[in-house]
C-alpha cells in the first residue's frame, strides 16, 4: 500500500458520476478510495436537474462529511468530487474544490488535479483585464479563460481554454447538462472512465475508485482528450493533436494505490517488478528483506521472492498515527520515544537486513529508519531503493518544485549512503524502472515521464524556466 502523508505529495484526486439516483453517495465512496491523493480538504458538487449544489471543507473526507445530512442535501443524478492534498501553511477553505460558480446564465463546477506551468503569466494577464481570483489555486484560470472566450459555444470555449493552459492537468467539470473530463496533451496524470451496472458513467483519478463503487473499467482518458458525458451518452473529442504519453512515473512508484491500474498496468505488479529487477541489479546476501510500510511492501516482496531471502515484518507502522497532533519533544526523541514506525527487535536482532524503500527525497526519513533498525539490533542494514535517484523537480503536479529538497541532486550515492548510515545503498536504474512498469507507448521512455530522474522535461517550463535554470547553477549541499 502506498498511501500515506509524506514529504512527497501529489496534488489531488477527482471523482465524478453521471446518471445515478444516489450520485453524491457514490461520489463519497469513490473519493474515499482516493483519500491517499489528498488529505487537506474535500468537496462534492451535485447536479439536481441543472441546479448545482456544493459542500466543501478542510479535513479528511470523513471529517468534511461527518454528518449524513450534509450528503443528503447534495441531491441529484450527477456529482463531481475532489480531495486536495496538504500544502504547508495555506489552510483556507477558499482553495478546496470543486469550485462552484453561479452565473446568470447557468451553474458550473470545476475540479483539477495537476499543475500549470504558465499559471502566473495567465493570472497576471487576466487580472490586468479586470479578472478577480478568489483562491491561490491555478484551477480558477480555466474558468476565466472559458468565460472570456469569444467563441460561440461552450465546447469551443473550453477547447480554446485547454489550449491556452500549459503543464499537467486532469480537469473534471460539471455543467448544467453534462459532465466533462479533460487531460493535458502529455497525459501526465491518470484519469479513467468506468460504468456501473445501471449504466451510470464514472470518472476517477484511479481505477481503484471504479472497483470500490462497483463500476467496470471502460477506457482511460487519453492525452489531449475532452470527454463529455450527458444523458445521450459519452463522446470523445480532442482539443489538440500534438499529444504523446508521458505518464508520471511516480504514480507507479509511490502515489497510486497498489490495486489501481494505470494505462493497463497494475501498480502492485509494477512495484513487485521494480523490487525483482532491483534485486538483480543490486544483489546482496542477507538474512531478510524488510519493506518500509506501507508504500514499499510490494517492492520488498518482489525483492524477496526473486532472491529467496525471507520477507520479514521488521518494521511496524502505527495505523493510528494519521491524526495525532501531539508529537514527542526533542528531549523525548533523544530518549528514543518514537510514534510512527517501530523496528521489531524480535525479528531483526543480530540479522543482516535488506531494507527496501520506494524512494529517497531528503534522506532524513531513510536515516531515521536505518537508525531504528540498528538500535533494534540489526547487524547490517543494506538499503535498496526501488526507483532511480530523484534529482530534478516536478512542475506537473508533484509537490517538489526545488532541487534543494533532493539529496540526490548534488550528492553521490556513496555520500548519501554515508549520510543515512547504511552499510550499502543502491537505486534501481532508469532502464530497470522502465522495464518494470513495461509500458509500450511509442514515445520517449516508452510513455513515462522520467524528468525527476534525468531532467528531460516533455514540455517547455514557461514561468518556471528561469528559476529552474538558476537552480541548476546552484551548488547545494545537505551536510
Amino acid at each position: 500500500m502506498s498511501y500515506e502523508v509524506r514529504s512527497l505529495n501529489e496534488e489531488c484526486g477527482v471523482f465524478g458520476i453521471w446518471g445515478h439516483p444516489d450520485a453524491t453517495r457514490v461520489t463519497y465512496f469513490g473519493l474515499h478510495s482516493l483519500q491517499h491523493r489528498g488529505q487537506e480538504g474535500a468537496g462534492i458538487v451535485s447536479n439536481d436537474e441543472g441546479k448545482l449544489k456544493g459542500y466543501r471543507d478542510l479535513g479528511l473526507l470523513s471529517e468534511v462529511f461527518k454528518d449524513e445530512r450534509q450528503l443528503d442535501q447534495l441531491t441529484g443524478q450527477a456529482a463531481i468530487g475532489h480531495v486536495r492534498y496538504a500544502t504547508a501553511g495555506n489552510g483556507s477553505v477558499d482553495n478546496i474544490q470543486p469550485f462552484l460558480f453561479k452565473f446568470y446564465d447557468g451553474d458550473f463546477a470545476l475540479a483539477h488535479n495537476g499543475n500549470l506551468t504558465n499559471a502566473k503569466t495567465l493570472r497576471k494577464d487576466l487580472e490586468e483585464e479586470g479578472a478577480i481570483f478568489h483562491s491561490n489555486s491555478d484551477t480558477e484560470i480555466l474558468m476565466h479563460l472559458i468565460r472570456k472566450s469569444a467563441k460561440p459555444d461552450f465546447s469551443s470555449q473550453l477547447k480554446e481554454a485547454l489550449n491556452t493552459v500549459k503543464g499537467g492537468f486532469a480537469y473534471l467539470m460539471m455543467t448544467e447538462d453534462s459532465m466533462v473530463a479533460a487531460l493535458d496533451a502529455n497525459g501526465f496524470r491518470p484519469l479513467s472512465i468506468g460504468q456501473m451496472v445501471n449504466g451510470a458513467y464514472v470518472v476517477a483519478s484511479e481505477t481503484c475508485a471504479l472497483e470500490v463503487v462497483g463500476a467496470e473499467f471502460l477506457q482511460d482518458v487519453n492525452p489531449g482528450e475532452v470527454i463529455t458525458i450527458n444523458d445521450q451518452g459519452l463522446t470523445v473529442e480532442k482539443f489538440t493533436d500534438e499529444t504523446q504519453h508521458a505518464i508520471c512515473s511516480m504514480e507507479y512508484i509511490y502515489f497510486a494505490r497498489p490495486d489501481s491500474n494505470i494505462a493497463g498496468v497494475n501498480v502492485h505488479s509494477a512495484r513487485k517488478n521494480m523490487g525483482r529487477i532491483l534485486s538483480s541489479e543490486a544483489p546482496i546476501e542477507a538474512d531478510m528483506v524488510v519493506g518500509v510500510p506501507n508504500s514499499s511492501l510490494s517492492a520488498a516482496s518482489g525483492y524477496a521472492e526473486a532472491t529467496g531471502i525471507p520477507y520479514e515484518m521488521g518494521l511496524v507502522k502505527n495505523q493510528y498515527i494519521a491524526r495525532t497532533f501531539i508529537q514527542p519533544t526533542q528531549e523525548l526523541r533523544e530518549q528514543g520515544v518514537r510514534m510512527k514506525l517501530s523496528a521489531v527487535r524480535g525479528v531483526v536482532e543480530g540479522k543482516k537486513v535488506i531494507m527496501v524503500d520506494d524512494s529517497i527525497v531528503r534522506g532524513t526519513t531513510s536515516r531515521r529508519i536505518v537508525e531504528l533498525l540498528k538500535e533494534a539490533g540489526a547487524k547490517e542494514v543494506h538499503v535498496r531503493i526501488a526507483s532511480p535517484p530523484l534529482r530534478y523537480p516536478c512542475f506537473y503536479g508533484i509537490d517538489i518544485q526545488t532541487r534543494k529538497e533532493l539529496i540526490a541532486a548534488n550528492h553521490s550515492i556513496e555520500e548519501i549512503r554515508s549520510e543515512i548510515g547504511a552499510d550499502s545503498l543502491a537505486f534501481l536504474s532508469e532502464e530497470g524502472l522502465i522495464d518494470a512498469i513495461g509500458l509500450k507507448f511509442d514515445a520517449p521512455y516508452s510513455g513515462l515521464c522520467m524528468a525527476y530522474f534525468n531532467g528531460d522535461y516533455p514540455t517547455p517550463l514557461y514561468d518556471y524556466e528561469e528559476k529552474y535554470q538558476e537552480s541548476l547553477r546552484e551548488k547545494i549541499s545537505f551536510f
Copy 2:
C-alpha cells in the same frame, strides 16, 4: 499487523511510568502504541508529589488528548494510562479508566485489563453491605475490596483483594507514593516491565510500548505477582502460590501487535510459524497466497515462504476507514459499492488464490472476502485459517461470551466452507498452534490457554458456569 476493529475484541491496554519528568507525555506515546487494544476511550492519571490528577474521555487517544494543554495539566513524575475497547451501546465516560478516587486519607487510581468471573456475586455482596458503584465495569470491585479490608496496611489489603477476585486481570494502580502492577494467577493477559535510560520504570500491556518509548525490556509480570515500583526501586511479591501459565493464545493469533514479544516469543514470528505449519498441514496448489490485511499478513507470508507460492497483494484495505461513519446503503452494496477492502483485479483475475486469515468468528467477513475475490476474477479461492476453529466463549477478557456468535460451535468445517463460498477450507490444528508459538512452560498446552478451541478452561467459571452449561446444551444454527 493485527490491530483493527473487528467482531473479536479484547478488553483494554494499560501503560504506566514511574520516575520521569515528562511522565504524562511518555504515557501518551506508550498508550498510542497500544491503541489497537481499545478504541472506545482513553485516560491518564498522573502523580504530582502524591496528588493525583486525571483526564479521560470517549474516543481515540488522539481525540481525548487533542489539545496539548490537556496533557500539560497532568503534571508529575509518574502516570498510568488506559485504552478501552468499544462495547456496543454503552458509550458512557463513567466507564473510561483509569478510575481516580479521592479519599480523605489519600488519592488512588486504578486501571484494568481483563474480566472477572465472580464479579456479579462480589458486586451484589458489596452492594448489600452498602457499597455504591459508579460504573458498569468490574474494575471498581477491587477498590471496594481494598477499602473494606480489615487488614492493617495497603499491601495486605491489596493481596487479600487480589485473592478474592477470580478470572483474568492485569491491574495497574497508582497510590500516592507508588505504582503497583498485579497479574492473575493464570497470567491470561500479558504485562511487561521495562526501564528507560534515565532509570524510569515502565509497565505496559505489550512490549511494543516499551520499544516505542525507548525503554529496555526488564521482565514480564508473572502469574500471581504484585510488583511495586516506588522511589526506592522495584519489588516483586506474590499474592498466591497456586499459579500456572495459561497465556491467552488469541494474543498471539490476533490481538497483539506483531512487534510485541509475549513471554519472550515474537508475535510476528509466531504468526509466520502458524502460516508455515498450516501450509504443511493443509497444502494446496495455487498461483498465489493472499493475506487478509492487516492481521493476517504475517501468517500469509509464512505460508508463501514455506511453499514457494508467490505472496501477492490481492486485497487492499483502505487505511482511512477507521473513522468513517457513513456506510453504503443496502442498495449501493448490492451494486457493488464497498469501502473497507478491495480485491485487486489486476492481481487475482483468472488465478487460483490461497486466502489466509487469522480466524473465523461468525463467518460473515470471510464470506464477503471470498465473494470480493471471486468478483475480481479469482478462479478458485482456498481459505486457510491460521488458528483452530473457535468453538467456546472466553471469560477472561475477550469479547466473546456466547457460543451463538461462533459459527464453528455447531457447524462442521464442510458446512462453514459451503457457507463462506470457498473452494476449500482448512484450519490450523491445536498442536500446530502450540508448536508455532513454541512456549516451553511446564503447564497444560505448554502454557497457553486453549479454551476457545477445546473448552478446557484453566479455572472454574463461577458466575458464568450456569449459563455456559446451558449454552452447551443449546442447538445453534447460523443458516
Copy 3:
C-alpha cells in the same frame, strides 16, 4: 435594548481601525458591540505592513474567534471587520465578509452594509464581459467595477464605481496603505468615525462601538462621502454632490442599540419620545405599562413616565434562548410549554395591561404575546406600537423585500387588532415618529427615510421596480 434575532433583520455591521498596535483585538471588541446587527457570520481582515490577512466563518463572533490564536494570527496596525445577519437557507462561508482579494498588484479587502438596487443588472453586465463572482452577495460588484475601471488611479476608480452602484451602502475597505469608508448618496445606513487616545482612527456602523473601544466620536460619514484614512491622517472627499439625508427610520425604532447616537440623536431617548408621544396620541386607562423585552423597553418606559401609569415587568425573556435549537413540539406548545417569553402571573393577573411593542411585521409574535398575557390572567391587553404601520418593503438593506410579510399592507388596524386578540390597538403616527426622533435636516421628513410606512422611496428602485409595482396590485390576505 433592541438587539435580538427577529423576523425583521438588518444587513450587517462594520468596524475598522487604523493605527493601533492591537488592531485586530480592538476590531473584535468593536464588532462584539455590533453583534446585534448580524449573527450569521463574522470576519476580520488585518493589514500588516501592506500584507492583508483574513479569517471569517459562520456563527457568532465569539464562535468564529473561539480561540485567541485565531485573533493572534491577524497581525498588523489596521483591521476591518464585519458581522453578517442571518438569511434563511444560505449558510455558506463564501458570503461571509470582509472579502479579501489577492491581486498580482496588491491586496484589497471589502466589507459592506446595505443593499444595491441595480445589483442584478450590474452583475449580468459584468458576467457578460467575463467577470466571475464567487458569492451571492452584492458586495463583490464594487470590486469588479473598480478593477474594470479605465481610470488612472484607485481614487478615481473607486469614485466611478460608487457612482455606478445604486441603493443603500456603507462600504468599508482596506487597501495596502489605507482604510476607506464610503456612504451612499442618501445616507440610509449609519456610519461614524471616532478616535482613540493613541490617535488611532475608528470607523463603525454605530457609535456604541466607539464607546466600547474607548474612542471619542469625531464625525459621521455623510451621504456621498469617501473618507480615506492612512498614516497621514483623514481626508474627506465626495463622489457625488447630489446628496440628501434619508436615514433609515427603522434604525431608531428597532435596529440600533439604545446607547448609540445616529446623526447626533440618542436612540434610547428617541424611543422614549416615541413612547411619550404615542401615549398622548393613543391614551388609555390601565393598571400598568409592560414593554416587550428587549427592544421595546425604552418606548414603554417613555409611555409609563408620561402617563404616570406604573411600568411593570410583566414579561420576562429567557436570556439563554439565543442558541437553543431544541423547540417544543406542536403538542407541547398546545399544552402551554413556552421557552422564549414568559408572562409574569404575579404581576399581570387581574390587571388592565398596556403592552408596548416597537413594531408589527406579520402579527404572529404580537398575537402570541397577547395570548401569553391573557393566559397569565391579564384582564385587558391594550397594544400600543411605537411606530407607524409597516406597509411597504425596504430595498436599502432591511430584510423585508415583499409586502406579503407585512400584515398592515392590506389589513386595517381594526382587522389587525382582532387578529392579534388585543382589546385595543394603536400605532404611532408618522408625524409623531418624526417629532420623536427630532432630526433637523433640510430634506423630506426632516432627513428620515419613511418608505416602509408611506411608500415614498427616496431613489428609483431599478431592478426592483417591476416586481414592486406588481406587488402593489396584488391582493394579499393573512387570514
Copy 4:
C-alpha cells in the same frame, strides 16, 4: 431580570416530572427556564418503566443537549433534571447531576440544590467504613446514608438519612416507581410543585419553570417535608417536626427570576418594593434613576416610580457576552476598551444619576460601573443598594464561604463609598428588606434567613464553625 453569571452564585436548580409521555422534553424546557441558577453543567435522568437512563455533561443546557437525539434516548414517562452552577477550577463531568446509580436491586437517581454543613464529617465517617465517593459534591452522601441504613424500607431509610445531613438542601430523587422531593428543616432553598393539564406532577426550584411548561402551581414543598409522587398520586410526609421557615433572602434580592413566586411572593414585586422603600430610606435629588442591568431593573424602577425621578437606560449590557472567552488585555482596558456594560453618554452626560444595584460583594464591579458613568459624563453618581450590606458568609448553598470576599465585612459604608468613587452610597435596611418582601411566617425575620447581613445563622455550623469563628477574629482589609 436577575439571571447572569456574577461573583455571587447559587448552587443549582432542579426540575422533575411524573406522568407525561414526553417527560424528558418537558424537563428540558423546565430546566431551560432555570438556567440562570447554574451554567457549569446539566443533566437529565428519565424513568422508562423502572429503568433509569441518564445523560449529563459540562456546559449550558443547550450545549449539553445540542442534538435532539440525545433527548430522544431518554425515553419514559418521568424524568428529573439539574443545572449546576460554575465553580472555579473543577470542571469535571463527574460532578454534574443528576447522579445515576445502578444497584443490583434497582436504579436510583439523585439531584441536589444546597450545601450541607456536616458533609466533611459524614464523608470521612463513611469512607472509614469503606464507602467510595466518585465526586467532590456533597450530594453523594445522601445515597451512602440511604444504602447503609438498617431500616427496613426505602421510606424509613430516606428519612433517617435526611435527619443525618445538616444544612440547606432541596433534593429531587427518582426511584424505579416514584419521584421524591425533600426540603431541609429550615426551607432555605425554594422548591415548588405544580400540575400540568394532563395530570402530570411537576417539581421545580422556581415557579417560573412551572409557568414555562404550562403547569399550574399546586403547593410549595415546606421545611422538613418529603413528598412522594407516583402513579397513585402525591403524598406528603415529614422527616422531622423541628422546622421553621428561614428562606434565603438572596433568592428575592438577586438569584430568582423576577417572574417566580417564592412562598407566594412575586420576586419582581418584592424587588420593586425594595427600590421603593430604599428611596424613602435614602432619598436624593437627581436627574434620573439608572438600574444596573439585568438584575437591578426591578428595584430601579421601584425607586423611580416612588420618587417621580425618570427611569433611564443609562447602562446597556451586551447580551452576547455570556460565551465570549476573549477578554480585553490590561492595556486595552486602560485605553477604555470594555465589553460587558456600556454607559450611554447621550443619556447620562451632565446629569446627576442615581445608580441602583441589588448588592455589593467585593465592590469592584460597583467601582467599574461608577467609573463608566463618570467617563460618559455623569456629573454625580449616587449609588443605592437595594439590600443591606453583605457581611457574613453563607453555608447553605450560596457561593460565599469566606468573609474575605465581602467588602462590607470590615469596612464602613463611607469607606466603601470612597472606594467605589460614588458621590453618595446607601443600603436598604434589614427592616426595609423584610418589609419589602413581606413574608408573614411566625419565625425570626418573618421567615427569612438574614445571616449574610447579621450573622444570625438559623442552624449550627458544624464543620464550618471553627473556620468561621476564626474568620471573625481576622482583620480583613481590601485597600
